[in-house]
Symmetry: C2
Subunit: 242 residues, 2 copies
DNA sequence: CGACGCTTTGACACAACTCAACAACCGTGG
DNA sequence: CCACGGTTGTTGAGTTGTGTCAAAGCGTCG
């Protein structure tokens, strides 16, 4: 949050959770993240099929990655938050496999895909850290896949919030008790693979069981242990220092 | 299939679909893939939580990546086939986020995670190709996520077989009309997020509608266009040469 | 030849969806 | 400051896709 040091971007903070970075590496990292710009809520950052050679590093705000379907539905795949990279995979794949939009007004810096690759060769340690971040994002997708297919509505929702809380707290955006959370019921529905009305019913149950409340853009965790138990949540794959 | 040239591994063949490789690069690629060994059907290659520093390159046979759940269920995430890397992500993440087992007897070479990273720095082109392969695998997981959550049982099954056929044909293991496919109904169930009995019903429908038959370990495609239409399948994210 | 793994079939149950209508909230402009 | 329109949330009734359970058939391999 406090970022008096210009080299201390959200991304730098996250990577440092993986391995310590040298001043040189931090300097390079800062240099490739050019002029941040604001993306308005609802605006699309990248779209599926585009062959993007730019990677966005999210500095603030919430975004979501998703795929639209011919039948009008959509599946939200991920919610990149501050410190996350958007389109890192697309930059390598040449053509993006899904789209990203801003959920709230957001601040992003963009990075040339070139620079990322150069970084891997010229600053191997930093490169490794970036690859780690990318792997972590994939692990999240796998976890999400398992979650939406193998847990029932209430467990699934609980698990989703546990994983989200853990990611947010890693970048200082959540406490054990609550965090800002601008997700509407219908956005949650698209992410969790439920109908909006059913999300409502589930949130009601979570509240009645004194586990979690979602109100006015904030999530309040009343019983962390209870939620973890309900969700069968194993943290740890998100945050690992060697 | 025919591999008289010792440098022409399944992996090399796949990477060449991304960009041409020099003799030096092919040589190095062959060198790091040490003595292939056989993994018996049913045996586990890696397990979740293990901190693996080895990557397996599959030369022949079928494997599957999955996560077990506390309640006894499991979700199959991917089916690595010849030319695919197993545990590439785990090698970076330090601890594996899911497990891999052999579906049939399989032949794997193993590679030091070290060597992969070295390769990225010393043979940038080859490194890029490997990163491409890794991204492609992630795109597959995203597609699978969308598939299991946003399509109904029959569309989902059709889509699964379309994607599988495309991958197999890329490494010469499928024609437009048929391919070897050692998936049992209960394995399919674990992958598609259906019960085994429902998989049965769906396969029956596909057969009745003269679209696809799965019999005796082979899949027969009767109506490719019909299947693609039913599935809403957009190929292309699997195979792209620049 | 028996046993085990896989497939096939049927009856029944339920989690989650759809549809529909209404209520609360929120930013915007008059 | 209030009126308004759009978005988001709330509630209920009825429907359905898919799961569960149970039992029998069929290969094939030792």
């Amino acid at each position: 949050m406090i970022s008096s040091n210009p080299f201390d971007s959200a991304l730098a903070r996250k990577l440092k959770a993986f391995l310590p970075l040298s001043p040189d590496e931090l300097k390079w990292l800062a240099e490739i993240q050019v002029t941040p710009r604001v993306v308005e809520r609802g605006k699309q950052l990248t779209h599926e099929g585009q062959n993007g050679h730019r990677v966005f590093v999210l500095q603030a705000g919430w975004t979501y990655g998703y795929k639209d379907l011919p039948n009008g539905g959509r599946q939200i795949v991920s919610f990149p938050i501050a410190g996350d990279c958007i389109g890192l995979r697309s930059a390598l794949l040449r053509t993006a496999d899904h789209s990203f939009s801003a959920l709230t007004d957001a601040v992003v810096s963009s990075v040339e895909a070139e620079d990322i690759l150069k970084c891997v060769t010229q600053f191997p340690r930093l490169g490794t850290a970036i690859l780690w971040a990318a792997s972590r994002e994939e692990a999240l997708v796998v976890e999400h896949l398992v979650n939406v297919r193998r847990r029932n509505a209430i467990e699934r929702t609980a698990h989703f919030f546990m994983a989200l809380a853990e990611r947010l707290s890693l970048v200082g955006l959540a406490t054990e008790a609550e965090f800002k959370c601008p997700l509407t019921q219908s956005v949650l529905a698209d992410a969790l693979g439920l109908s909006a009305t059913h999300v409502k019913r589930v949130l009601q149950q979570l509240q009645e069981q004194n586990l979690l409340t979602l109100r006015k853009g904030r999530a309040h965790i009343h019983d962390l242990a209870g939620l973890r138990k309900l969700a069968g949540f194993q943290g740890g794959y998100l945050n690992q220092r060697d």
